[in-house]
Symmetry: D2
Subunit: 351 residues, 4 copies
Amino acid sequence: MKGFAMLGIGNTGWIEKDKPVCGPMDAICRPLALAPCTSDVHTVWAGAIGDRHDLILGHEGVGEIVEVGSLVKDFKVGDKVLIPAITPDWNSKEAQAGFAQHSGGMLSGWKFSNIKDGVFGEFFHVNDADGNLALLPDGMDLGTACMISDMVPTGILGAEMADVQFGDTVCVIGIGPVGLIAVAASAIRGASDIYAVGTRPNCVQVAKDFGATEIINYKKGDIVEQVLELTKGYGADRVIIAGGDNDTFDQAVRMVKPAGKISNVNYLGEGDYIKIPRVGWGVGMGHKQIIGGLMLGGRLRMEKYAKLIKTGRLNPGKLITHKFNGFDKVEEALLLMRDKPSDLIKPVVIL
Amino acid sequence: MKGFAMLGIGNTGWIEKDKPVCGPMDAICRPLALAPCTSDVHTVWAGAIGDRHDLILGHEGVGEIVEVGSLVKDFKVGDKVLIPAITPDWNSKEAQAGFAQHSGGMLSGWKFSNIKDGVFGEFFHVNDADGNLALLPDGMDLGTACMISDMVPTGILGAEMADVQFGDTVCVIGIGPVGLIAVAASAIRGASDIYAVGTRPNCVQVAKDFGATEIINYKKGDIVEQVLELTKGYGADRVIIAGGDNDTFDQAVRMVKPAGKISNVNYLGEGDYIKIPRVGWGVGMGHKQIIGGLMLGGRLRMEKYAKLIKTGRLNPGKLITHKFNGFDKVEEALLLMRDKPSDLIKPVVIL
Amino acid sequence: MKGFAMLGIGNTGWIEKDKPVCGPMDAICRPLALAPCTSDVHTVWAGAIGDRHDLILGHEGVGEIVEVGSLVKDFKVGDKVLIPAITPDWNSKEAQAGFAQHSGGMLSGWKFSNIKDGVFGEFFHVNDADGNLALLPDGMDLGTACMISDMVPTGILGAEMADVQFGDTVCVIGIGPVGLIAVAASAIRGASDIYAVGTRPNCVQVAKDFGATEIINYKKGDIVEQVLELTKGYGADRVIIAGGDNDTFDQAVRMVKPAGKISNVNYLGEGDYIKIPRVGWGVGMGHKQIIGGLMLGGRLRMEKYAKLIKTGRLNPGKLITHKFNGFDKVEEALLLMRDKPSDLIKPVVIL
Amino acid sequence: MKGFAMLGIGNTGWIEKDKPVCGPMDAICRPLALAPCTSDVHTVWAGAIGDRHDLILGHEGVGEIVEVGSLVKDFKVGDKVLIPAITPDWNSKEAQAGFAQHSGGMLSGWKFSNIKDGVFGEFFHVNDADGNLALLPDGMDLGTACMISDMVPTGILGAEMADVQFGDTVCVIGIGPVGLIAVAASAIRGASDIYAVGTRPNCVQVAKDFGATEIINYKKGDIVEQVLELTKGYGADRVIIAGGDNDTFDQAVRMVKPAGKISNVNYLGEGDYIKIPRVGWGVGMGHKQIIGGLMLGGRLRMEKYAKLIKTGRLNPGKLITHKFNGFDKVEEALLLMRDKPSDLIKPVVIL
C-alpha cells in the first residue's frame, strides 16, 4: 500500500509498505478524511521525537473499517469511525490509574506516527478497537469529525486541567487550533472573562466567536502587564498555555492569581528547562499549580465530544480554513501546515 | 420602620419594627429591588420552618447601604449592593471546612427571614458586610440583579454538586426558576444533552433558550422510562432535582447511570423519609452518589455570577415574568408566588 | 473437573464440570488458597442475585497459572497470583469513565460466582489476565493474600468513598471483616477518632488493634445518641456503613455532620427502599453526601494493597480466625461463614 | 513590653515596644511556650522578606489569653490556646475561594514576624480570635503543642498537596522538622513505601520512627538514580520537597512517574528561577503536576491536628531535641536554629 511518510529528519515522501496486520482486538481502517497536525511538522522538520525512517505520518482522521479482529465486539467491517490521535492500552496499570495516555511509559499511548505508522496510509491499524474507536455520527461533516481526533480533546484537556470554575477569568495563551478549542471549552466550562492572546485576524475572529471577551496582542506590550491591568492587579484565575515556548511559563506564573492554575497543552519542542520565576511563584508557597498533559484518547471521550458537536455546544468546523480533495493532497496539506500562511488555521483532506 | 412579615403560620401583614442596629462588621441597607421566593411561601403557608411571629420575610434583593460598621473596609454608605440569600459567618469552623452555609449548625448561614428579619423591610441588616456584600455592577438591571441573591447560586449549585463533565447527559427535574438556572448552568458546565422535565409553556420556552435539548413531559408517561429510552437504556450521567417531592429521588436513582450523580437543590417540605430504591441503587454498590445542598452565599460567588451575567454567559433576566413598582407591591408579588398562575416564573418588585 | 457449587437457592454441593477454556487475553488458574465470603452466603441461602443452577461459588483466593492466552504479556504458566473478586473489562466505556467495576452494566465487573463460575473449582478462568492478575509477593502468607481479593479492597473503598481527611472523626458501622479493614483504612487515611460499632469480642479486639479509639455497643443504647454525645452534638465527619440493613442509613444520616459523608460498602440484600430521614438530611440541603460502591478490582490496586501489607501499614492476616487445609474443606468453611459462630471473623482454606 | 526582634538584616536584639492593642475581633496573649523556625533565620540572616527594623520575631508558640475583643464569642481571658503561624482574614474573598493563607494577597495570611510583630514578645496580638485560636487540649505537652503552629500543618500540607493515595510510593526530599512530619503524614495518608532523603542520624532515626521505609543518602549517589532503582525504573508516585533549593525541582520531576505529583513546602530563599527539565516533564505533556503552598492556618485545622496527636496518630514531640526554660532563652534557641548543630531537629522554649 501507499503512504505519505517521514523519510528522515527534514524529508518526506510517498512510500510503499505492506498493509498492516490485524490482531484479535484490532481493526484495520482506510481513511475517509485526514488532517495534518503541527506535531507532524515538529516530528519531520524539528526532529522532535528523534530520527525516523519511512514512518507513515498522521494521527488525525476519520476512517472506514475494512477488517476487524475476532475479539472485537462493537464494530464491524464497513463501519465509519472516529479515530483518536492517542490509542491507549486500556488494560495497562497506567490506564487503571486514570492516565491511559501514559500506558506503557510516558506518552506511549501516542502510537500513530510515533511508535507505529500513522493514518496517512491507504490503510492503518487501530489497536484495541472496542476501546479506541467510536461510530461516526450520522450526518457529521467529515472535516469536523477529523477535529475530534486531536484538536478537540487537546483543547478540552486544557480547560479540564486548568479546572475552570463558574465565573473564572481565564487567559488562553496561543490561539492556533488547540488554543481556540481551549477558548471554546473554557466558555462551556463556566468561565466568564476569557482573554485570548494572539494576533492573526482569522484566529482572533474565531476566538471571539468561541467566547473570548478580550484579545490580548503581545505586540502591543507585555502580556503579563495587560492581564494584570485587565484584572485590576489580581491576575487571572486560570491560564491555559497553547502556544509559545519554555519562557511562556514565566509569564503564565506571573499573570495568574495566588492559588490559580496553569495548564499546558503545548508541545515543548526545544530547550533544556522551563523556567518558573521564584518570586512570582510565591517563593514556593503561592499555591500556583502547574500541569501539562497529553489528551487521553479512547472511545468514551470521542463519543462525548461528538455529542457536544451534535448539540451545538462546540463547533470545531470553524477551525477549518483549507479543504482539499483526494488522498494525494495530504502532502500539500502538510506543507501548508509547515509554512503556516497567515490565513491558515487548520486544513483537512477529504478522500 | 415598616416591613412585610409573617404574623404566624398562614398569615402575613405589614408591621412596624425598630430599624436594625449595625454592629462593627455589619451594614444596614434599604432595598432597591426585591423578589419573593417559593421558600417564603413554604415558610408562611406550610409552616416549613415552624411558627414565627412578626418575622419580616424575604431574602432576595438589591440594596443601598445606609450605614456601615466601623470595621467594614470595602463598603461605604451609598454603595449599591448585591445581597446573597445566605450570609454565613466566615470566621466559623464550618466555613473553614468549606461549608460556610452551615456555619453555626446545619443551614444556619440562612439568616434572612429565618433566624432574623428578612429584606422586605424599609431597612435590613447584613452581617459581615465585607464577606457578604458585592457591588452592584454598573448598568446591571435591578431585576436581574435580584436573581443573584438565590436563583442563580442555587441553580448553579445544582450543576456543581452534580459535577457535570464535558459531554454529559443531564436530566433536570423541575423547571421553575431554580431548575431553569440549573439547565443554563449545565450548558455552561459542559453538558451536551440536557433533558428538562416540566410542562408549563413559559418554562419550557426558557428551558430551550437556556440550552435544554429535550423536554420531558411527565404527563405523557413515566419520566424514568422516557430518560432510559432517550439514552438507549444507559441512563443519564447526572440528575439535578429542582422540583418534585421525596419520591422524586426514587425516579432519579432509577434514571441515572451506574456511577452517576444526583444533586438536589429542592427544599423538601414534608414527609418523613426520602426513598432510595434498593435495587436501582445497585443493592448498595452502584456508585450512584446522592447529595443535596444549600447555596453557599458570600461575596466572592456573587461577584463571579455577576461576571457571568455581564459576559453574557447567563441571562437570568429571562426568568422575570412579572414586574411591580413600589415597596407596597411586595405583598402582591408574594401572593402571586403563592398562587402560581400558569404564566409565572418569577416576579420582582422595583422600589 | 470438580467444583463446589450452588445447585439452586438454599442448596450447595460438589459438581463435575468441564475445565474452563482460555481465550487469547485470559488465564486459567488452579487455587492455592481460598476463602468464602458473606456474599456467597447471600447468593446461596438468600437467593440475593436470583436462582442459579450448578454455579461454582467463590471469588476470594490465590492461584497458580496453568494456562495463559497468546496475547497475555506479563504472566506465564507457573506464576503464583493474587486474584481480585472483581475482574473488569478494562476496554469498556465504563472503565474509561473510571468505574470499571460497572463495565458492561451495573456491577458487571463482578463475574466470579455471579455471571460465570467462581474460584471454588479445581481450575478457574480469569479474563484480561494482564489487567486483572498480580504476582503473589515473595513470602506473603497465603491466607493474608486471600484477603486482597475482596476484604482489603472493599474496606479501603469504604474509607476512600468517605473521603476521610486528616483529623476526621469516623464512625464505622459494622465490624465484620470488611468493617474492620475500613477501620484500619481510616486510620491510615488520616482519621483521628474512629468509632467502631459492634459487640463481638474478637471483632472488638481487632478493631482496637486496627486503630478504633472507641467501641460503640448498639445493645447499650441508640448509636446515634452515642455518637452525638461523643462528638458534643456535632456528629461524626464521616460514616462508613459495613453492616446493618436499609434502616442503617437513617442512623448514619442523623449521626453525620452537615457536609459530612456517608459511604456504604454493605451489600443490601433485601427490602424495597433505603430510608433517608428528611429532617436529618437538612430538608434536602444539608450537604450530607451518600454513596455506596463496589470494589474496583484489577491489577494496579492489588499491587498497591500488597505493598501496604508488605510495609506493615495494614495487617489483614488478623482477620483470619479459622484455617482449613485441603480443597474439600471449602464446604466446611462456607457453612461456617453461613452459621457465623461467635468467634468467627474470617476462615481460609489452604490447598 | 519586651520582645526579641530583628533590628535589621543580620541583626537581632531585645527591644521595648508598646503592648499591642486589641480590636473587637482580636485577642492579646502572653506566651507559654515558643519555638524558633528556620523561616526566622531566613528572615534575619538572609533578608528573605526584605529589610525590617525592630520587628519582633517568632510565629510558633502556645499562649494564654490576657485580653479579648468585645465580639469574640468562643474565647475568654485565661484560656490557654494553640496559635497558628498563619492567621488569615476569613472574611476575605481568598478565604471564600478556599485559600485563606493568601487573604489580601499572596502569602498575606502570614502576619506574625512578617507584616506585624511576632510571638517572641511579652504579649502578642492575634487577629480574628474565633477563627484563629484553638483551646490547648488538657494535658498536652507545651513543646508538642508548639509544633501545631507550623511544623505539623506544613508537613501535613506536603502530603495533602501531593495527594497521597493508598499504596503510593512517596519520596520526601529533606528531613528537617517539616520533612519529618511530611513522612509521618504520608504514612497516615496511605503511603506504603516512603523514601526519606537525608543524612543526619537524629533525623534519620525519627524518619524511620515516623514510617520511612528507605533512607536515601544524597552523599552516596544521585538521588534520582536511587529512586529509579528502588522503583524498578517506574519512579515514585509522589514527591514532597521539604528541603534543597531551586534545583531540587529538576530532581523531583525526573524521579516522579508520569502523572505523578510534586508538592513543595520548602521556602525558596534565593535564585531567580526554578528549573523544570523539559524532557523529564514529558515535553510539556507528562501530567507531572507541580504545586507549592503555604499552610492554611486557622482554628479548625489546629483542632484536627490536636486530635491526631491525642489519638496517637502523630507524635511531633519527637522533633524536639533541645528544650530551654525562660523567655530570655528565645535568643539562644534562635541562634541554635541558625547554627544547626548536627544533633538539632527542633528547639523549644518553655516559659
